[in-house]
Symmetry: C2
């Protein structure tokens, strides 16, 4: 990895649909911009509690807008995002704690690189935000892991790790790091430019982000993705 590459960190949680958009865009641009993308799985529930923020859908007009906005953006970003039948149940009642501990276990095991973190995260998003499937049960996490190309034995180990104190603590500490950097929701992208950390919230600052890191934004699909989504 060339040292000239700018470090870009993406803090996210698979419970967040806007995070999925940012994740896919940055995964595409990691091959276009001269950046070193670092995936930072964290826990959105902890961010909302720690920052005192409230989910947008608590305001009815905001909730309705979000549905329209996500549908339009999903099409424009070419991300197969479909709202679950009961978003409140999926996002708040069931939540993502088990899922993000699982992703954190994948991240901890995969010391160099984040190929597996990327694949597992995408499969979890696909479950909750595309085909309306559970992401809380071990069997659900296993299925996502298998689709992401992990072996059964690897998954078994990861499920055990996900319940361990070190992984719980690690998820807490990354979430706290995000809060300390100013998070009040996800996605949060931190670009390291000339020794300064520039934070961007949401999936609607890519054009500005490109400007800040000296790159060019050419829309959410810099090329037609060849990878099967």
């Amino acid at each position: 990895m060339s040292s000239s590459k700018k470090l870009v960190e993406l803090f996210y949680d698979v419970v967040s649909p806007y995070s999925w958009l940012a994740f896919e865009v940055l995964c595409r641009y990691r091959n276009v911009w001269n950046i070193d993308l670092k995936l930072r799985p964290a826990f959105l529930g902890g961010i909302m509690q720690g920052s005192g923020n409230k989910p947008p859908a608590m305001v009815p007009n905001k909730g309705m807008y979000m549905t329209t906005d996500l549908t339009r953006l999903a099409q424009y970003f070419s991300v197969p995002l479909v709202q679950p039948a009961d978003p409140f149940e999926a996002m708040f009642k069931k939540g993502s704690l088990a899922a993000m501990r699982f992703v954190m276990a994948v991240a901890e095991k995969e010391k160099d690189g984040d190929v597996k973190v990327e694949k597992v995260s995408r499969e979890l998003w696909r479950r909750i935000w595309s085909v309306d499937q559970d992401i809380t049960q071990p069997a659900s996490l296993s299925e996502a892991g298998l689709k992401a190309g992990l072996s059964s034995s690897e998954i078994e180990e990861l499920l055990a790790m996900a319940k361990s104190q070190p992984i719980k603590d690690k998820l807490k500490s990354v979430t706290q790091e995000a809060l300390d950097r100013g998070a009040f929701g996800f996605p949060m992208t931190v670009c390291h430019v000339n020794g300064k950390a520039e934070m961007f919230f949401g999936s609607d600052r890519f054009e500005l982000m490109a400007h800040c890191i000296g790159e060019k934004w050419v829309g959410p699909q810099p090329y037609k993705p060849t990878a099967k989504m």
Copy 2:
């Protein structure tokens, strides 16, 4: 005006800095896109109360982000936006009711077109969001009106109109119309495309908006503005 032009309505309040960004961008693009831009002055206080939304700065991390975000966007959008010394005082204690009634009076008097509405709105934004000046007192509104090219007698008439019941009622009814269309904050842009109204919140959906109306987004400065800002 050709009937092929798509109607684009911008609901805004001069108390809102993000509205200023959207206003300048759309005023630039009205000469680039095949649109008929209609300025819809309204009252943000009524939108927040009616929708049950809370100002972003109530969450400390969100407030801090907003300051950084606005500074970066102002530079990128080339809008001379500077945060007032005491944003809370300017935005919430003093507010914009008198200012928006004045703008509404300008709109009501200027039956065809909105050249004056545009100029007066820009002068009011410049006061509160660039040079940290009052926008609540008649003398302040007068100054803004004079800078916008209105005559003293015209301003006198507008100040009287602004206090009248019909103007108060009109501001209320446009604000209610915005709420009915799903507003929970400003700016809100409504694009009329093939008989359907597409609503966009904020000043970060222009690329998507362009896509929806069949136009091209080439950044916040489609040309170097020749008008003195």
